[in-house]
Subunit: 244 residues, 2 copies
């Protein structure tokens, strides 16, 4: 037995998917089918299907079956110079640029005043105990959660401004920061990818997540906002312009 049975079964299914035998949304042969076809025990058939779900090619639905995963067109998130400025400078939310044709909605929104995590407090130059304005929200596309985000701003800086409301007004947070004389002139984004922790999975995101920390900086080098984002990796393509 050169390669394990379950891997051979998985490979056969994978090839069938790639060949189009099973299209997106189609039901794959279930555990019982595989047991019969390949003369194999329950756990072995399960293991084969487990390979496909781990690869993100299939997803199982309790009581229904295992289905080929439908990959919707990924969202193109352009983190590009002109775009950002133009967009929030002219009334739209920065985030509407993330998106190109489907319905994006916001969910689980909250604003509160609370201490920021130590690393964030450091970036924002908050003294220990200084509170931050914390804005949390989750974004859905077609009813499916694709991103959750938390932003931190110095509470003293934004007190009394629309930033402490759910609706920050035309142009969003960045436009309001500009109104306050703290317009960000550039942002630094750090990007990592990881498997979703159980916590993130509770948020309803996929198995692989992209973690972005966006740090917004003013002309005087002041950090006025830190945003931590968790994206469903399968739902997004990030685009960056790199001048040379």
């Amino acid at each position: 037995m050169a390669t394990p049975k379950y891997q051979r079964i998985a490979a056969a299914l994978r090839n069938a998917i790639r060949a189009g035998t099973y299209g997106p949304g189609d039901r794959l042969p279930g555990e019982n089918d595989l047991m019969a076809q390949h003369e194999v025990a329950r756990m072995t058939a399960r293991q084969a299907l487990g390979v496909l779900t781990a690869e993100g090619l299939a997803e199982s639905r309790k009581g229904a079956g295992v289905f080929v995963r439908a990959h919707p067109e990924p969202i193109l998130r352009r983190a590009t110079a002109r775009l950002a400025r133009q967009v929030w400078g002219s009334g739209e939310s920065v985030w509407s640029a993330d998106f190109d044709g489907r319905m994006m909605t916001v969910d689980r929104f909250s604003v509160s005043e609370a201490p920021a995590p130590p690393d964030v407090a450091g970036l924002l130059s908050l003294a220990p105990g200084d509170p931050a304005c914390v804005r949390r929200r989750r974004y859905l596309v077609g009813g499916v959660p694709v991103m959750s985000a938390v932003s931190y701003l110095p509470a003293a800086l934004v007190a009394g401004s629309p930033i402490t409301n759910e609706d920050t007004g035309p142009g969003g947070t960045y436009a309001r920061l500009a109104d306050l004389g703290h317009a960000p002139v550039h942002a630094r984004e750090t990007v990592r990818a990881d498997t979703a922790t159980p916590d993130a999975r509770d948020l309803g995101l996929g198995a692989v997540v992209v973690l972005i920390r966006r740090v917004a900086i003013t002309a005087t080098d002041r950090v006025v906002e830190v945003t931590d984002m968790v994206l469903d990796a399968g739902a997004y393509v990030l685009e960056y312009e790199v001048p040379m």
Copy 2:
């Protein structure tokens, strides 16, 4: 039984790891240990350990045990304006900027002339049948593969230049392109994350990979190079500057 046994066992181990009971590189209780401690069957203990390995918290070594994964300091890959220009403008490889103290070596290098994949050919404005110069290489840090990359350049453009050699000389490919009068002035990078396919796993990369496509563009808007990179997600942090 509110939550499954294997999840409770996995949670206990996870907490023990976070609490420092088991440090990086330490051996976790094995299948036999868990069977005894939790009065559970083999497959259940396995399943619990499987959760941790799937999360990337642990890794199993055949015949030896399951160990807490040692996460080396991630490589900071700065895809930033000044850096890129400065670096290759002054003799160093662009990629040496990826890296900040450990030994990075190249592996499995090859240069060849071959047709580019259709999407790449389109970006490079290659007529069907026009060959591309294909440069493949894999990067190791401390002996561990962390990235593999393939670059495509129009063969007609680079014929006879050092770009067709392994050693492209001071400043690397971009400096040679500049010598040829095709200096790239900016690049567009698209970033995705995914679980590693069996192919990529054969390359020796981790379970989660980051896929970057870098398109290098000249002042006359000509695409002179397309590079596809596969990074071990755990080994990298990407940094981008976004002017606003």
